[in-house]
Subunit: 334 residues, 2 copies
């Protein structure tokens, strides 16, 4: 069995009690169609990375997995709420291989389903926080989750206000993916640690670990969007380039291209109808400028920083699971 | 000075510290356009009824107004978040005499601004609850607010799933306005009471008072939509009838009309192009069936029940302010 299969199995096993909790908290009330729309995406799958981060962080500081389950569920609900609304904002038609919520239930119901999920994020914690946690700790956890949501909104606002890579600086990019990915990763680790009875130093350490892991994940995703083949990608090669997706690779390339290279880039970046030849030329040029290597180096840098941060966490199987997860995701073939 | 002017002045005065708090909690961060969009509607005005209910409920049980301010602000932000998203869902173009948020900033930014406001609802309380409240009480307050949001979503889902009055029962209607209006009114009163150090019995009493007041408010609004003139209404007479708005009057009429009356109703209810003559015939028919009187009687019934509920609250100026508010709104000319 490959290491990837091993990690996938652990993700599935970790998700079982979380999915059960989610099912109970999203159980139908009147009107049923609202609850159908709210459960639709979350039932369609997803890797359950965030519950994994939450529960493993709890265990890594000596806590019991079951104490982190309501938080893990809450944070997965939060992730799904953002996906439902993002898909409306971006008018995306497919997610997890199925029509998006607004395509299936209409836009008004999708907005509302997102709002209901948002409320359920809080209800999961307010009504189900484990008895051993003090009310102060519950409030601290809710505070971290709320801060993450604010950063998520800011990240998404940056994303929709800066339509294509042409206009974006590396600082903007890091703010954007920090908000869109790392903020929630960090909340997962911090809140899991809180549920596990962690010290302040441990909470901070796990939070930093997760923040940097989130940056590395996102950068690797961007690299795969340029270098992977169609089967691995699940979308057409070049689609990131044609839609002018804001990636670290592209931002680096646009900032470092010479005149000739810039002409090649401009022929395809953000150009919906760019030909396969134009796309191939862009990929070749990205290699020449050194942008793909630059992104790989940055992903490695954040991964190394993430591992540095959790040195203060005692060694053990759950800490190892966290390290394995990051290594697996960051070292996917690219 | 009329009683109405007196109440309006009290609303304005009550809102001052609340608006100051809202301004500070919605202060710009990057990206600025998100914060502009988030402040836009709430700065455009509004009666600030919910902060009034919150603060007066706090005072009515012996609390200090300033202790209720973060909650009052939070609940006003919550109200505005629902308006921003409702306007997207209903594709409304004007609110408080100005273009709606999505008309001004685009739909994606309006959805996102609503989401940010939603997070700010919680941040206002988590970061600014008065020091004298225990963490348990803060959690109780957040629980009541979260329950209200869930009911709000359910009420709005009922509203958008039952497009016109033809399909709605009186039970549906009460669930819908209970969710859309009363749930938040109730949360205001309960949370204000909590901030004021109320007993459980007082919290329940003020909550029930506010719930019933909300039903009465909504029913009166519906009556005004049929009987008021254009200047009072701020929209064209007959527009509620033409859009088939789900009102208690209309539901009563559709359930009690004879065959002949039903023909008159069907000619204009939910018919965009209905003529002025058709509208006039409907209003006359609503009178004949007794539907307008029925709605007036129901509004009186809920008002009386509201006043009954707060008999357990000690008499005093803030309790009187709550009673005056309801009397003023329910006894507007109709």
């Amino acid at each position: 069995m490959s290491r990837g299969d091993d990690i996938k199995q652990k993700l599935v096993k970790n998700a079982e009690p979380v999915d059960e909790f989610i099912e109970s908290i999203l159980m139908s009330r009147t009107p049923e169609n609202l609850y159908h729309a709210s459960r639709y995406l979350i039932s369609a799958g997803g890797k359950r990375l965030r519950p994994y981060l939450t529960i493993k962080s709890c265990e890594a500081v000596g806590g019991l997995a079951k104490h982190a389950v309501p938080f893990a569920a809450s944070l997965e609900i939060l992730h799904n709420f953002t996906l439902v609304h993002d898909d409306v904002m971006d008018n995306d038609e497919l997610r997890r291989g199925k029509p998006t919520v607004h395509k299936k239930y209409g836009e008004p119901m999708a907005i509302l389903a997102g709002d209901l999920l948002f409320a359920k994020v809080y209800q999961s914690v307010l009504d189900h926080a484990p008895a051993h946690m003090s009310s102060d700790e519950v409030i601290a956890a809710l505070g971290k989750m709320t801060d993450a949501i604010i950063l998520l909104c800011e990240g998404q606002a940056l994303d929709i206000s800066l339509p294509i890579a042409m206009d974006v600086t590396e600082r903007d990019y890091l703010d954007m993916i920090g908000g869109k990915t790392s903020a929630l990763f960090m909340a997962c680790a911090e809140v899991g640690a809180l549920a596990g009875g962690a010290s302040k130093a441990q909470i901070t350490a796990l939070g930093r670990f997760a923040w940097d892991a989130g940056l590395a994940f996102q950068i690797v995703d961007d690299i795969l969007g340029i270098t992977a083949d169609e089967a691995t990608l699940g979308k057409s090669v070049g689609s990131d380039i044609r839609e002018g997706k804001k990636t670290l690779i592209m931002i680096h390339a646009l900032a470092n291209a010479n005149e000739e290279q810039m002409i090649v880039l401009k022929r395809a970046v953000g150009v919906k109808g760019a030909s396969k030849e134009d796309i191939d030329a862009v990929v070749k040029t990205l290699g020449e400028i050194g942008s793909i290597q630059y992104a790989k180096d940055e992903a490695e840098k954040y991964t190394a920083r993430a591992f540095e941060s959790i040195k203060v966490i005692p060694d053990g199987p759950s800490k190892q699971d966290l390290i394995d997860l990051v290594n697996y995701f960051v070292q996917r073939e690219y």
